[in-house]
Symmetry: C2
Subunit: 478 residues, 2 copies
């Protein structure tokens, strides 16, 4: 039985989801608050998850030809202002450097909130001929947005992310890359983070400042709220015209490039917590678990127990499993509780009786199942279980998402779906901003996306009754 | 023969070393200048080297128990001012954020020049008992120092680095970690970057702001100038007292922690250029070469050539070699020249005659040697050669360093060593700041370090003639 000391300190998610989230973030030692208002310290246990996200996502990027690079963290004010929609979108929430080296600066520098303008400035210098295209670059860095209200991982004044920026010869190539990267994101979320997503397009109202089209992957959290988990933008040649990024084509004419950008952030860690976690703590999918298996010796002072446990540790390490042992003098119950809080996908209990019987007990974090495993089979069984847990966690999240996705044909159904239940609501939309605004004002919900997989739920807009153009996912968003 | 078009554009290093350096940085496409004064764009070819540095150094850190984490990029002014020596050292060269979210801030935030103060603030929160020690954390990030004159990689207003920060129960543990990390740096420089180093301690004058002791690894560039390549600082309990970081020891008394920090930066890429490069361009040690082998087909339009070249590509890829093929329609000479400029350690030339004879020609970048290799042996031979090149590049750099290290017993010899030659000069020192200042004023050279491996060159200080305390390495520094 898990020791109650640690567990009791967590608010249950049914009682207060926001507090439950904050408790996990602290108790699993992912985050610490800092003296810097609105900025968080990502502690080793949290950062190790980010490293696993980075490594796997970066490998997927590179398979599609992405190259990493690094541009400055500062954007001169004049550069930020080059593209009108973009500056309008970001200027209100930037931080400005006005002094450097003991003197006032002649021009303010903003700390990058995103780097479209810097990449444009860079591409203007390196793109001359069709031979220089495409440019498919990415950077891993931190960005700053001066948010008023902040929450660990979900919204903070500084956060870590990757931002890909590409330049292409044609509109078709740009569109292809925009879609390709959204598919990479969906693949990553589903297969690495075990989070099912809806792929779709943002409405005009919700799209990125300066983009022609924004694609998004939307996920449903355990409390029924939506989380935008990654976006991919097609800029057309808007930025290229603003910055004058032209190339000489094969036919010797000057043409504007077509650009895209796409990003995912540390908020993914928040998504993992809110999709998979429970009242015992964090639940990490094996692919992003810094420790996949925790070995907990039982009656460890008895002769041979620690030896056998360490033997197990070596065996699993050699097999490439991220495994650790807790041989501290805490009680087994306390250790179980800690391992559960930290989201380690599997623990192995091994005591004198187990050793006598040539076995150990494997306990799955995702569903609590206890499995007797012969010590001789442990390597293959652990590897198999890690795959199973990864898959089962995805299936469980998908079942939850599907059970909390509602259809509304009338405004009455629509309202009820958001007042009596909580989740995604699918409804038809006429395409007018006015209906989107009305719905937001009335119910505080936003259009999450126009999914790529369209369904025809009815012929008319749920709000105004005019002919419908698109089926839309609506939700309360983080 | 290498095509001259590309090569002719480089200034020779003998003629103008600074211009040669700048030419390489541009021609090998490592860096671009940006619209942000004093900040550089690290282009994909440059960033790929940094990734290899990161991966290998990070793995070495983790073997010693280092954990990565992330702290904010901003430091509130009041926090920066907590440790007197530290703020005096850094305040003059920081950038200040004074506005955020459209309003002036109540307290200025500096963009981190280094994060001792933030780590102290963090450790104060997480360290309570001896059980919480040691804390051995590191972050990979960028920092900002408002330099007046900048040079690509060597000195720029923003640069990438890692900064390790540790807290220990005792002074002995802190000293052990300080020394351990300097040894990691030396090992990394010598065995990964093929750069021989002198390990030693900085004088009081040259040590880090706030440190009790600073250890350094110093390398000699091809022009005879010194480059400080990594430093490790022991802070004693100075920061702990300033920030009030205390823990309850086993004996139930409150004690201050002892701290260290250590860092290496993107200037390492500058070191690689200046230690190994030549008048044909960059020379990358195989361990940090993004492309280790470039296959260049000869008469590639002849039947079978490209097939065979691609077969070679696959073979070497499967063997884990970072290999690429240049099958563009440029001339072979141009391709050779490009490969040399970019520092690819080895190229393989393969044409119709080679294929007829079941061989190819391997050309080493480090010494130009051409070697006929049977196609059947290519995998083992390439792997063997990569090891040999790595080793030979270190030996060549060491021979150069040793040939440019001079001994001065008298001030006359000392002056001559710096006016008639250029390199490291070893000389005895009394330990007085006055002599160090005098030498710097007169010859514009600085003490690089008091090497751990001391020699007794004479009994008296090279400057004042008083009894000598230490043998010191002196040099002109970047």
């Amino acid at each position: 039985m898990a020791d109650k000391k640690m567990v009791e300190a967590i608010t249950s998610m049914e009682e207060d989801f926001a507090q439950w989230y904050t408790d996990i973030v602290k108790k699993a030692e992912l985050i610490d608050y800092t003296s810097v208002k609105g900025c968080m310290a990502i502690k080793p246990a949290g950062y190790a998850i980010w490293e696993l996200i980075q490594n796997q996502l970066d490998a997927m990027f590179k398979e599609t030809g992405v190259k990493n690079m690094y541009l400055p963290m500062f954007i001169p004010e004049s550069l930020l202002q080059m593209e009108k929609d973009h500056v309008e979108g970001f200027a209100p929430e930037v931080a400005w450097v006005t002094q450097g080296g003991g003197a006032p600066l002649t021009e303010r520098l903003c700390v990058r909130p995103t780097s479209e303008t810097l990449f444009c400035d860079y591409y203007k210098g390196v793109v001359h001929s069709y031979r220089d295209l495409p440019q498919v670059c990415n950077q891993w860095c931190s960005v700053v947005r001066w948010e008023k209200e902040t929450r660990p991982f979900l919204r903070s004044r500084e956060f870590l992310w990757q931002e890909g920026h590409t330049a292409h010869a044609t509109a078709e190539d740009a569109e292809k890359r925009t879609v390709q990267m959204l598919n990479v994101y969906a693949d990553f979320l589903e297969n690495v983070l075990a989070i099912p997503v809806i792929k779709g397009q943002k409405t005009e109202k919700e799209k990125f400042a300066g983009a022609e089209a924004t694609y998004t992957v939307e996920a449903l959290m355990h409390d029924g709220k939506a989380l935008q988990s990654g976006t991919s933008h097609n800029f057309g040649d808007g930025f290229a015209r603003a910055f004058g990024i032209q190339y000489t084509d094969k036919d010797n004419t000057l043409k504007y490039v077509h650009q895209t950008s796409w990003g995912m952030t540390t908020r993914l860690i928040g998504a993992v917590i809110m999709v998979h976690g429970d009242n015992s703590g964090l639940k990490l999918p094996p692919k992003v678990a810094p420790t996949q298996v925790m070995i907990i010796p039982i009656q460890q002072k008895k002769e041979g127990v620690l030896d056998k446990a360490n033997e197990l540790l070596d065996t699993l390490k050699k097999a490439g499993v991220r495994v650790d042992i807790d041989d501290t003098d805490k009680t087994p119950g306390f250790k179980f509780s800690e391992q559960e809080m930290r989201g380690v996908p599997m623990r192995i209990e091994i005591g004198p009786k187990d050793i006598e019987n040539g076995k150990c007990v494997v306990v799955r974090r995702d569903n609590g199942e206890k499995i007797d495993v012969a010590l001789s089979d442990i390597e293959s069984k652990v590897k198999e279980l890690l795959v199973t847990i990864q898959k089962d966690m995805f299936e469980a999240a998908k079942a939850h998402r599907d059970a909390h996705t509602y259809v509304a044909v009338t405004m009455d159904e629509f309202e009820k779906a958001f007042t009596e239940k909580s989740g995604f609501v699918k409804a038809m939309w006429c395409g007018d901003r006015a209906c989107e605004d009305e719905i937001k004002d009335k119910l505080a919900v936003t259009s999450r996306c126009m999914p790529w997989e369209q369904e025809k739920l009815s012929d008319v807009c749920v709000c105004c009754g005019k002919p419908a153009k698109k089926m839309v996912y609506w939700g309360k968003a983080y």
